[in-house]
C-alpha cells in the first residue's frame, strides 16, 4: 500500500535525522522522507499530529517457546507482543526443544515465522550442539540457512578450548559469537546478586566475578582469534569498564544490556519477588547507573528486552526454584525511553541502541528510515505516560518484572514493509 505520513517528528539516528516532516511509503519501501519530501498526487495521507516516527526496533534477544514449549510463547504471540512494542525485527534464541542447532531447524523457524508471525524474525543458532557446550555446530551451513549469530543463549560456553575453537572457526564466516557471560562454577547455586541483601534473604549469591571472569577469559580468546564477539547482557559496573577498555584496545567486541537492568536493581527482588529473578541478576544501584553511563557513551552497543516468557507455575515457586526471566519485548521502547526521560541520555543514542546498531552487528541492514529501505517503522508518542499492566501485555506469559511500573512512551502503530501490523 502506498501512503504518506505527514506532520510527523521523523527520528532516524543512522541518518542524523530529527525533524518535522513527511514519510512516504511506496510498495513497502520508504520512497521519500523529510521536511521537503514530495507526496505523489492522489496518495493517501495520514496526519501524524506531530507524533514520532522511528525506525522499527530490532530486539536482539528474544526467547520463545517454539518449538517445544508453545504454552510459554509461540513465534506468533511473540511477534504480536513485538508489534505492540514497535519492534519490527526479533532475534530468537536457540534454547528451544529441540535446540536450534541444525540447518533444518533454522529453516523451520523461518518458515513458521513467515506463516504465523507479523514481524520479521531472524533466529540465532546454537554455538554448540544441543547448547551442551561440547562440540561446535555447523556454523557455515547454519549461516547459509539464515542464522544471524551463534550463541548457547541462556547458557555460557564454559569450556575455554571449545570457545577458542568456535571463535577461531567462526572467523571464516565473519560470524558473530554471542556469549551469556556467566561462569557456572562461580555462580554455583547462586540465584541473585551476591550482597548483604542476599545474605539477609538467605539466598545464595552470584558474584560479579562470575560475569567478569568469563568476559576476561573470552577477551583473551578474542585477542587470539580475532573473531567478532558479543556479550548478550552485562549487568555490572566492572563489566562496563572491562568492555570499555577492550574497545579502546581495538578488539572486535560489543555488548548488550537488558532494558530491565536499566530500570531495576537488586532491591526489586525484596520479598522473594521471583518476577525480578533474572540472569544475569539485577545488581546494585551503582551498577545500574554504570550501565546507563555505558549506554550513553556507547560502550554498551545495544539494549535488548531479553524477553523470556515463563508461566505462572514456573514463577510461583520458592525463589531458588523459580525460573529466570521476564517478558519485555512489548515494553522495550518504554524501557529505553526511561533513560531519555529520567536520566538525560540523548534520544538518538538510545534509539540507535535498539535500531541501527543491532541491525549492523547482525548484518541485517535496516534499522533506519533511509530512502529505499523497507518501511519498517513505529509511530509513537514519546511522552505518553502509562502504567505497565502484565495482564494486558500481549505475550502468552505475564511474567513482567516491571509490572505496575509507571513509564513514558507508547507505540501508537507499527508497520512492517509498509503494512500496519499493530494499531492502538
Amino acid at each position: 500500500m502506498n501512503i504518506a505520513f505527514s506532520n510527523a517528528r521523523l527520528i532516524d539516528p543512522a541518518n542524523g535525522l530529527d525533524e518535522l516532516g513527511t514519510l512516504v511509503v511506496e510498495k513497502g519501501k520508504i520512497s521519500a522522507i523529510g521536511k521537503n519530501a514530495k507526496v505523489p498526487e492522489k496518495m493517501k495521507s495520514h496526519d501524524c499530529n506531530g507524533m514520532a516516527i522511528l525506525p522499527g526496533l530490532v530486539d536482539m534477544q528474544v526467547f520463545t517457546g517454539e518449538p517445544g514449549e508453545e504454552y510459554r510463547e509461540t513465534l506468533a504471540t511473540a511477534s504480536q507482543a513485538a508489534a505492540a512494542g514497535g519492534v519490527t525485527t526479533v532475534i530468537t534464541m536457540p534454547n528451544t526443544n529441540p535446540v536450534i542447532d541444525d540447518a533444518a531447524l533454522v529453516d523451520f523457524i523461518s518458515r513458521r515465522a513467515r506463516d504465523t508471525a507479523i514481524v520479521r524474525v531472524h533466529p540465532m543458532a546454537a554455538l554448540t550442539k544441543g547448547c551442551a557446550g561440547k562440540s561446535m555446530t555447523e556454523i557455515g551451513l547454519l549461516s547459509e540457512a539464515g542464522a544471524v549469530a551463534f550463541t548457547d543463549g541462556d547458557r555460557a560456553v564454559m569450556n575455554a578450548l571449545t570457545m577458542r575453537r568456535a571463535l577461531s572457526y567462526a572467523g571464516t564466516f565473519d560470524a558473530l559469537i554471542v556469549q551469556h557471560a556467566m561462569d557456572q562454577d562461580l555462580q554455583s547455586a547462586g540465584v541473585m546478586h551476591e550482597s548483604e541483601m542476599a545474605t539477609r534473604l538467605g539466598l545464595a549469591g552470584i558474584p560479579v566475578a562470575a560475569e567478569t571472569a568469563m568476559i576476561d577469559r573470552d577477551l583473551r580468546l578474542v585477542e587470539l582469534t580475532g573473531a567478532r564477539y558479543h556479550i548478550a547482557q552485562i549487568s555490572a559496573a566492572d563489566s562496563v569498564e572491562t568492555v570499555r577498555a577492550a574497545k579502546k584496545r581495538g578488539l572486535p567486541v560489543s555488548c548488550g544490556v537488558s532494558a530491565t537492568h536499566l530500570m531495576l536493581n537488586q532491591n526489586d527482588v525484596e520479598n522473594y519477588r521471583t518476577f525480578a529473578k533474572l540472569s544475569p541478576p539485577l545488581r546494585r544501584e551503582e551498577d545500574r547507573l554504570a550501565l546507563i553511563a555505558g549506554v550513553a557513551d556507547g560502550t554498551i552497543d545495544v539494549v535488548v528486552s531479553g524477553h523470556n516468557p515463563q508461566n505462572e507455575e514456573a514463577k510461583r515457586q520458592p525463589f531458588a526454584q523459580a525460573a529466570y526471566g521476564t517478558v519485555g519485548v512489548e515494553t522495550l521502547l518504554a524501557g529505553v525511553l526511561s533513560l531519555y526521560h529520567a536520566d538525560g541520555v540523548p534520544l538518538d543514542r538510545l534509539l540507535d541502541c535498539v535500531t541501527a546498531r543491532p541491525a549492523a552487528l547482525l548484518g541485517l541492514g535496516g534499522g533506519t528510515l533511509s530512502v529505499g529501505a523497507a518501511a519498517d517503522f513505529a509511530l509513537a508518542d514519546l511522552d505518553a505516560p502509562w502504567v505497565v499492566d502484565a495482564d494486558t501485555l500481549r505475550s502468552k506469559s505475564q511474567n513482567a518484572a516491571i509490572d505496575k511500573r509507571k513509564v513514558q512512551g507508547q507505540v501508537l502503530a507499527c508497520y512492517v514493509g509498509g503494512k500496519a501490523v499493530f494499531e492502538r
Partner: protein, 322 residues
Amino acid sequence: MTATEIKGAFAHRDLLGIDGLSVSEITYLLDLSDSYVEQNRQIDKKTSVLRGRTQINLFFESSTRTQSSFELAGKRLGADVMNMAVKTSAVNKGETLLDTAVTLNAMNPDLLVVRHGDSGAVELLAQKTSCAVLNAGDGAHEHPTQALLDALTIRRRLGKLQGLRVAICGDITHSRVARSNLLLLNAMGAQVHLIGPQTLLPVGAEQLGAHVFTDMKAGLEGCDIVMMLRIQNERMEGALIPSVREYYRLYGLDREKLGYAKPDALVMHPGPMNRGVEIDSAVADDPERSLIRDQVEMGVAVRMAVLEALAANLPNGTGGAQ
C-alpha cells in the same frame, strides 16, 4: 492475659521471621514464654487456650526435635495437632508446595507450622493460605522460634540480653539460626560476633550488624555466650572446608578455646550436635557451662507462647476457650 490484650501486644497474622518484630513484641513473647516454662514443670501441663483449634505441622525437611517440640506445644495448649511429613522430589518441589497449601487450606486449619528447605518458601505458602503460618525454618533465611528460645534461655540464666556479647560460630552462610539470632540479639541490644572460616561466612554480614571473625581466639574475647552451629556433612570434605580434623582443630569448641571467652561464659547449640566436629563432649555436657538442655526445655515454652499469640489474632476467633 486475655486474647484482646494479646492482640494489642503482638499484632501479626503470621510469624515468618524475627525481621519485622519490634523490641516490645519480642519482649512480650519472651514474657509469655516464661509463664509457660513454669506451667510445663507442673504435673498438669495442659490448658485449653487452643481448644477446638487445628494445628498442622508441615515439614518438607525432616526434623525430629523441632517437630516434636511444636507437637508438644500445641497439645499442651489443647489443640488438635496433625503432623505431615512431605517428601519432595527435586523436580516438582514448588508445585507440591502450592498444591499442598491449597489442599491444606481446604481443611480449615487454624495454625500451620512449616519447615521448608528453600528460603522464602514459608512466606510464599503464607500468601496462599488463610490460617496463621509459623515459620519453623526456611532454607538459610530464618528460624524465629529458635532465636526466641535461645534468647529466653539466655535471659533466664543471665537476667538480661542488653549489653551481652554473644558469639555464633560455625557455618554462618547456610544457617537460618544465625540469621534469626543476629536479628533478635541486635534488636535487644546484645553484640553479636560471627566466627567461622571465610568460606562459611556470608557476604555483607558486617552491614547486617555483626562483628565478623575468622579466628576463634579473637572472636571469643569477652563473650558471655558461645553459640555453636552444626556443620553439615556435605560442607566438609574439601568443598568449603578441607577436612573435619582441620575444622575441629581451628573451630571446634573445646575447653581450651572456651577459655578465650569470659571465664564464666556459657555454651549453647541448637542441635543436633556433631560431637568431635564442632563441639567437644566435655564442653557440651558440662552442667556448669552448657545450656544445651535448657534450650530444649525453653523450646516448648516459646512455641506455646507463639502459638497462643498467633491464635489470638486469628480473624474468626478469640484465641480458643478462655
